[in-house]
């Protein structure tokens, strides 16, 4: 293999939707890219998540990134030559009682003051119009009308394929063993030899703490396994994705009638073996919430349940942006079980920062410096 096969303007570590999107956007900017993925693109969190494309109920620190991403989702076919199964039927946060609705009102007011208008308070009548099957006791909620859902593995693979089409070199089944400085370059050692580049992007998801540790920027990353389950086909009864605030629930019916039930209940992740173990007690609680809220679902057969391996940061916010210590190192991980929607936009912003040195999209509060020892109280 020649040296040119082994070096590039940028090396991206991790083939999730974030790594693939960053590789694609770097290639679109004319940079040469090598992406290194230990399994196959979308094998973990990016391939097995709930597929929610959601701006609703996000932390304010990631709303600008989310907005950038949503614009790309709405022209996703132009971007990656595949519609990624993206549908836009909105997402609705259902308030279960008046106190819950009061919190919704406060949230929407706060966003309005900050200049964000994608979340809209709705009353009981509008809630019933959007989600006719919801239990009569729910007094209203919040809707984000441009939200929707996509098919995760298909979307991640579409980003990969488009990146390859634009010249990115995607190496699947190659595991990074160590990252170290090598003169002006970064040396990425793998089980298939070493690669060199002046710039590396750490998009290694649930394995990103290992890369960060090599770079002497340790992070308190928790490896989690959020669980999901899916039912057999049901008659069409709901269009938008439904989420709750008080109890954990994310609920979505696909066009084919199957219903995806999630909400962030955690199973057990066995990271070293690429495996997860489900917690049926928690899934039972998850099922009980659906039983209460959607009586139509009570006899639905559950066909499969699973969990993906994801990274969660203590503050539930991603680590995104330049390294606090090194020139040419960029971090893009720790999306804490809500990174799928951010993938397209985060890749675009990351590529812009890499190529031009900065971006107009604010990413304050997402930097790795917040976990540096000196930043701790």
């Amino acid at each position: 293999m020649s040296a040119s096969d082994r070096s590039a303007d940028v090396i991206v570590i991790g083939g999730g939707i974030h790594g693939c999107s960053t590789a694609l956007h770097c290639a679109m900017r004319g940079l040469s890219v090598i992406l290194i993925e230990k399994d196959h693109a979308g094998r973990h969190a990016s391939g097995v998540n709930a597929g929610g494309v959601r701006q609703l109920a996000r932390h304010v620190a990631e709303i600008p990134l989310s907005n950038t991403s949503m614009a790309l989702w709405h022209r996703i076919t132009d971007l990656v030559d595949d519609d990624c199964g993206f549908t836009c039927d909105g997402q609705v946060l259902v308030a279960e009682d008046d106190e819950d609705l009061g919190n919704c009102r406060a949230r929407v007011d706060d966003l309005t003051l900050r200049g964000f208008h994608h979340e809209e308070l709705i009353d009981a009548a509008e809630l019933r119009r959007l989600v006719p099957a919801v239990s009569d006791s729910c007094p209203g909620g919040v809707v984000s009308r441009r939200d929707g859902a996509a098919i995760p593995l298909r979307a991640t693979q579409a980003f990969k394929r488009k990146a390859v089409a634009l010249g990115a070199d995607i190496r699947e089944g190659v595991r990074v063993t160590r990252v170290a400085r090598d003169g002006a370059n970064w040396r990425v050692e793998t089980d298939h030899g070493a690669f060199l580049s002046p710039r590396i992007v750490n998009a290694a998801g649930a394995w990103a703490d290992r890369i960060a540790a090599d770079l002497a920027e340790p992070v308190p990353l928790e490896v989690i396994a959020p669980m999901l389950m899916i039912t057999a086909r049901m008659p069409a009864f709901i269009k938008p994705v439904v989420i709750l605030r008080k109890r954990k629930l994310s609920f979505k019916q696909f066009e084919n009638g199957t219903v995806l039930i999630g909400g962030g209940y955690l199973g057990r992740a066995i990271r070293a073996e690429n495996r997860t173990v489900l917690d049926w007690g928690k899934l039972a609680t998850n099922a009980k919430t659906v039983w209460d809220l959607f009586p139509i679902m009570r006899a639905a057969p559950i066909l499969r349940a699973w969990a993906g391996i994801e990274a969660r940061m203590p503050d539930d916010l991603p680590v995104f942006g330049r390294s606090a210590k090194h020139e040419g190192v960029y971090h893009q991980f720790g999306f804490s079980a809500h990174g799928f929607q951010l993938g397209p936009g985060a890749g675009a912003v990351m590529a812009e920062i890499i190529a031009t040195g900065s971006s107009n999209v604010p990413i304050d509060g997402l930097g790795i410096a917040r976990f540096a020892p000196s930043a701790q109280p």
Partner: protein, 482 residues
């Protein structure tokens, strides 16, 4: 034997839980109970026997000649279990097996519409075999079923297909079933043998061993009887079921010419493969067995899987037939007792030795059968694009071929994201092997390189209501009280 009819009768914990009451499960349960272990034998069916001895205690088929003398051997296995203290739960579906955090296992079960979690120190999966998918054009038409399904109807209810019946495929069970159905009064108008003629070349090297095997006399008798009495066509190279609302005829190509045979029922069968859904979902390692041409859980000499504490006995860990299944169940139970510290390794070895010798004898000649009855490529990877491969999601062979080559999809798990094949209620039981075969063909690699679906629990569907009402386990209650 203590028969449990309600989910509430199950204990919180068993030394060993055995899934499946066919020959392997019955003998494993009896053997473990005789060693003093607390045993749960959970089985989906209403009565013991598995597929091979289905309805052995309840069948209405009184004439012993119809099902043959081998069938009635199953009775002894049930009698042996009945004399023990084992708990036997019929109609009980095990939908999940997973390691718990104490070194044991958690099982998710359903019985009578109610779900429960119980724990066990050791697990033996004795879930047996399933018929190898046999996708031909028109196989989804009413009137087309697997030969095994016809055998279930015969054993459990004494029913035979009505009208003109065609049986097509290959494998020793094909002859057995043809004989059983004919004896029971079915109108068999044709037996279409798809065994590729060149298989004899590969199988001949294993012939000497076969000549010494217990299969020989039995197999020859079956085949000769069937051939003598029934209208056989050999060297079949293409099949298609035809009809609009139901099958009305079958188009068959043999010896270079194609004919149409009118029929009311078409029974398909091209051998059996291990039923791997539960072991796969539990995380047991598996490999592609090139001789039996199927995915098989990887087990050691004691039938222990890659997960310590889970053993897989019987045809679920490689096809060996009923007699070998019972012996394998026995051996796996001895190892489980040893792992639980109830018998020493020396005791285990001494007790197992005669059974292991018998097992070796019973498997003699198996290789010859595997090689001789290996299905033809054309029936493993259907060449006609319109042939439905995934019946749940109605995905065709052409779609899979196209997606594999055009989008560069290299494995069945990625294929799911594009076509949804394997994502219906059967979780790939009816399409998995074919999808793998088609991808392998598209990329000119072996099925072993393509891999198999990663399967998910619940291995059999449970309702949302059942799951929502799942009672907390004692351990969970204690955790909350603490």
């Amino acid at each position: 034997m203590n028969t449990l009819r309600e989910i509430g009768q199950l204990a919180e914990h068993y030394d060993i839980a055995i899934v499946g009451a066919g020959p392997a499960g019955l003998s494993a349960a009896a053997s473990a109970a005789e060693l003093g272990l607390s045993v749960l034998l959970a089985d989906e069916n209403p009565a013991p026997g598995g597929q091979i001895y289905r309805a052995i205690t309840t069948t209405p088929v009184a004439d012993k000649c119809v099902l043959g003398e081998d069938y009635w051997k199953g009775g002894a296995l049930v009698t042996r279990l009945e004399r023990t203290a084992a708990a036997y739960a019929p109609g009980c579906t095990v939908w999940s097996v997973a390691p718990d955090e104490t070194g044991g296992f958690e099982l998710g079960l359903s019985l009578g519409g109610q779900a429960r979690l119980v724990s066990a120190g050791q697990i033996i999966l004795a879930t047996g075999a399933q018929e190898r998918p046999f996708p031909i054009p028109g196989w989804t038409l009413p009137g087309v079923m697997t030969a095994g399904a016809a055998q279930i109807a015969l054993k459990s209810s004494g029913l035979v297909p009505s009208g003109r019946t065609v049986i097509a495929g290959c494998g020793p069970l094909l002859y057995l079933l043809a004989g059983q159905l004919a004896a029971a009064g079915a109108n068999i108008v044709a037996v279409l043998d798809t065994t590729p003629r060149r298989n004899w070349l590969f199988a001949l090297a294993s012939l000497p061993d076969f000549l010494l095997s217990p299969y020989l006399a039995k197999g020859l008798k079956l085949m000769l009887q069937a051939r003598r009495k029934l209208p056989f066509r050999t060297g079949v190279t293409a099949l298609a079921a035809e009809g609009t609302d139901k099958v009305t005829s079958i188009s068959v190509t043999h010896g270079g010419r194609t004919e149409t045979i009118a029929c009311d029922a078409l029974l398909l069968h091209q051998g059996v493969i291990p039923g791997i859904n539960l072991s796969n979902a539990a995380g047991c390692a598996q490999h592609f067995d090139a001789v039996q041409h199927c995915w098989t859980p990887t087990v050691d000499d004691w039938f222990a899987s890659s997960i310590p504490g889970i053993a897989i006995a019987g045809d679920g860990a490689g096809i060996g037939g009923a007699e070998s299944a019972a012996l394998r169940g026995e051996i796996a139970a001895l190892d489980a007792a040893c792992r639980l510290g109830r018998i020493s390794e020396a005791q285990r070895n001494a007790k197992a030795a005669p059974t292991q010798a018998e097992l070796a004898r019973s498997l003699r000649g198996r290789r010859f059968l595997d090689l001789l009855y290996r299905p033809a490529e054309t029936f493993l990877a259907p060449p006609v694009d319109e042939t439905i491969v995934c019946r749940c999601e109605e995905v065709t062979a052409g779609q899979i071929r196209d997606t594999a080559s055009r989008l560069g999809v290299t494995g069945p798990n990625q294929m799911k994201a594009f076509l949804r094949c394997g994502m219906g209620p059967c979780q790939g039981r009816l399409c998995g092997p074919t999808v793998v075969e088609l991808i392998a063909q598209a990329h000119k690699v072996s099925p072993a390189e393509v891999g198999y679906y990663r399967l998910r629990p619940p291995v059999k569907p449970i309702t949302l209501g059942e799951l929502a009402a799942l009672p907390p386990t004692e351990a969970a209650v204690k955790a909350v009280v603490r």
